[in-house]
């Protein structure tokens, strides 16, 4: 049983909804829910940020989210519900960029599944962030190269970003 909800939400069409994430991963047998919410910050590497734009290869990202869910299920399931949603388009400071939630019978699995899922989203999903600065400049964030390695369960080992 893999019960997961994966979505890419264009900011022009809606907002990420943490309450919907909690509701999705809730079940009568589940005592623990862990959730991560990523928000657009007002400062990055010391520069004042006014917003960010996310570009996403939707089809591959959604396939990748489903793969992430399957790996979480293998590691922390089979009693697991997982929710992964990422925003797309131009976001302002404070807007939600990503919501990941995991529900399981006990809290340790919920924390670990949630953490693994957000790390894999960060390091393997085809998503690109362009930061817009207060001085009018914009720059694509330096990221994680997908060259030469396949997405793996421990793809985030050793990464700090």
């Amino acid at each position: 049983m893999v019960l997961h909800h994966c979505a890419i939400v264009d900011i022009a069409e809606g907002r990420l909804d943490p309450s919907a994430a909690l509701a999705f991963v809730s079940a009568p047998g589940f005592g623990g829910i862990a959730m991560f919410v990523g928000r657009v910050r007002d400062l990055n590497h010391g520069r004042a940020v006014t917003g960010v734009s996310y570009d996403i290869y939707d089809a591959l990202a959604l396939n990748g989210f489903a793969d992430i869910a399957a790996r979480c299920n293998a590691g922390f399931g089979p009693k697991l519900r997982l929710y992964i949603a990422h925003a797309k388009g131009r976001l302002a400071v404070g807007d939600l960029a990503v919501v990941v939630a995991a529900g399981t019978p006990h809290r340790d699995e919920a924390f670990r599944a949630c953490r693994q899922a957000i790390e894999e989203v960060k390091h393997t999903s085809p998503i690109w962030k362009q930061e817009h600065y207060a001085d009018g400049d914009s720059a694509w964030s330096e990221g994680c190269s997908l060259c030469g390695h396949e997405p793996a369960a421990n793809a985030y080992a050793g990464h700090s970003h």
């Binding site: 570009d55 957000i118 960060k122 393997t124 999903s125 990221g143 994680c144 190269s145």
Partner: protein
Amino acid sequence: MKIEVKLFGAFCDHQPDARLELELADGATVADLRRALEAHAVDHWPGLKPELLAYSAFASERAVLREAEAVPTCGSVAVLPPVSGG
């Protein structure tokens, strides 16, 4: 064969319509596609940092492709610069 290449992230600064058509030999591999794209970049994208392409991967809608794999003949191929989601 003609291959449609989807572009993302920083590549779109150089190609605002985010797509490109390249001519490749039948049976071309991902490594061949990479070389063709490098040649295209030299001719058409003077501002592109060469390391961006070196650090970019290629993918179908389903998965990242290995360099030795044949370029898929149905559907399109995407160039993925280093990712920065979340």
